[in-house]
Amino acid sequence: MILQRLLSGDFPRSRFLTALLLAVFTGLALAPFLFPGARALNVAATVCVFVVLVASYDLLLGYTGIVSFAHTMFYGIGAYGVGLSLHSVGPTWGAVFMGLTIALMLSLALALVIGLFSLRVKAIFYAMITLAVASAFAVLASQLSDFTGGEDGRTFGVPELLRPGFRLVEAEVFGTAINGKLITYYLVFCSALALFLLLLRVVNSPFGRVLQAIRENDFRAEALGYRTVVYRTLANCLSAVVATLAGALMALWLRYAGPQTTLSFTIMMDILLIVVIGGMGTLYGAVVGAALFILAQNYLQALMKQGSDALAAVPLLANLLHPDRWLLWLGVLFVLSVYFFPTGIVGKLRGKSK
């Protein structure tokens, strides 16, 4: 069956989850037609990119049991690779591919070196080293301002096909103009879908099973004859490559690459929150988590503002509900979910259907 092959035999296994995933999928697939407006489309594109980014992180955290804080570094390398190349060479497809190739090579090399250097030791060691390396990289990117544009980042032109001014057909389809923005959106969407299915394939392959074995008991996996260092490093490289691609997609979508949108520690925190709340060790968690999180990020704040205004008379409570404090509530949710449902939303849903 074709669906079986596409999903690599890893079905959602819960009616509600299936409905949720279908809703997210159709919502994203038809976003330009269902939700008109630049902001809604931006939210949809961000969800697409984050699904890939978070899924690739889940490959590390959920499937292999490695905590890395360098995931935004690879994401940033992808964004900057495409961005700087387009900025310096000019808006051609050649520049996109050149930038992407350089970014992929750099990510791969870094992932390999960091992996071989520190994955031999404990998870905790790797977490600290990646934290140090990633923060050094972020500082480097903002300091080398002649090259990267510093804190301001770089805006750049994209190939003509992707520009908002470009029209594929003059007529409007279902009241939506078929312009470059739409084409870019579908480029992002299709790439994200392909990458997600690829990751699904990887985690359901024999290789993915070995990773899970390492997560459960690395000593035993080693005893069975699997070189854990090699597998961990491979998983690290693979996840770095996918994160780089996600970064490149984001750069193409935003036509901008800067430290705040790619390298900042806040994004790393967002990824962690999404993985844990969505559900570790299942890629569908990334879809559900990313969709909920980005929606909340964009629309929940408005709700909180209402609450805050309503409680303006109560001093501390109003502050608690201030729209900028939404991360507080997510943090609380994060801590609670690590304790009480470590398998996240997806795990909870699957557990019920059994």
Binding site: V67, I124, A132, Q143, L316, D324, L328
Partner: protein, 340 residues
């Protein structure tokens, strides 16, 4: 068994622990090597004092973390939150006592600062106790969850700072008598840095004495070395751990006050920012080792200051390079703790 081994009669008969000297020599060698590179002696003195001051502050923040890890195998990624909370708590005293702070009297300045530090340590100590109870205790022995949950704790703490103190940066000017520089020959040394060095030395000395001369210290060292054995001898290592955790948090609070005054502005993210340096320091020092942590902190700070002067572009990654170099020399850190 008829013959019992003779009981140890005097300390003199016990084999003495050999001092591991090479890591101790790294610091002076580094400082001496930097002298000809920098070229001017006064500049070198200024840089070295600046480096020592920064190193002492980092040591104060890092020492608790490394002990907690050594004792219970718990790595608290939320340690940075205590640094921020400490610094912000100090403003509760320092801002109302602005008059005392600006007064041109060393005694009044010191009193205000002392009160601020005491309150900060008290609050962070209490917070550390709560953190240990609520956040850390349920996830003993599970590294992955520890990392995640302490990280979550830090997010919450950081956001709570925003809730209580508002989202803006808070300026925290130095007391009048600590401002300015002292001229030693041609070398200009900021007064506050000397104070930071002094406080750091006092903390290190106190820690050294407690760890090496008291029973609690003996138990802590034994616990780091082999926790199960200490438990088997009838001591509750859990209780010891809580004490160390609270003390470590309080020290982080102290470090936060010093660091905040050094930077003269407070942001809620300052703790998270400094954590990167702290992690590098405890990796360099060897996880769980206080002495290694001390040397590591000074090394990191000195290298950062020297390279910042000699080659500002390299300075950004100097910490990473230093860490790589040290780990190539001693893969477990300068003073590896036996069992790990």
């Amino acid at each position: 068994m008829t013959t019992t081994p003779p009981a140890a009669t005097a300390d003199a008969e016990l084999p003495r622990l050999r001092l591991d000297t090479p890591p101790l020599l790294v610091l002076p060698i580094l400082a001496l090597l930097a002298l000809p590179l920098i070229g001017s002696f006064p500049t070198w003195v200024t840089l070295t004092v600046a480096g020592l001051a920064m190193g002492m502050m980092i040591f104060i923040m890092a020492s608790g973390l490394t002990l907690v890890f050594g004792l219970m195998d718990v790595l608290n990624f939320g340690h940075g939150a205590f640094v921020s909370v400490g610094a912000f708590t100090a403003t509760l005293v320092l801002l109302p006592m602005q008059g005392w702070m600006q007064a041109d009297s060393v005694l009044m300045n010191l009193t205000a600062l002392g009160l601020a530090i005491a309150l900060a340590m008290l609050v962070t100590g209490a917070l550390g106790w709560a953190f240990e109870r609520i956040i850390v205790m349920p996830v003993y022995g599970q590294h992955l969850k520890q990392i995640l949950i302490t990280m979550g704790g830090m997010i919450v703490a950081e956001q709570m700072i925003h809730v209580v103190w508002g989202p803006d940066q808070i300026p925290l000017p130095l007391p009048t008598s600590f401002r300015g520089v002292i001229l030693v020959g041609d070398a200009a040394i900021e007064k506050y840095r000397l104070i930071a060095v002094a406080v750091g030395l006092v903390v290190f000395a106190a820690m050294f004495l407690v760890l090496n001369r008291t029973k609690v210290g003996l138990l802590i060292r034994a616990g780091v070395e082999n926790g199960e054995m200490v438990e088997a001898l009838g001591y509750r290592i859990r209780r010891l751990f809580v004490v160390v955790f609270v003390a470590g948090s309080a020290l982080a609070g102290l470090g936060g006050v010093l660091w905040g005054l050094y930077k003269e502005t407070l942001t809620a993210a300052m703790g998270a920012d400094i954590m990167v340096l702290v992690f590098i320091v405890i990796i360099i020092g060897g996880l769980g080792s206080v002495g290694g942590c001390f040397i590591g902190a000074l090394l990191v700070a000195l290298v950062a200051n020297y390279t910042g002067f000699l080659a500002p572009k390299i300075a950004l990654v100097s910490n990473i390079l230093l860490m790589v170099a040290i780990l190539l020399w001693r893969p477990q850190g300068l003073y590896p703790v036996a069992k790990r």
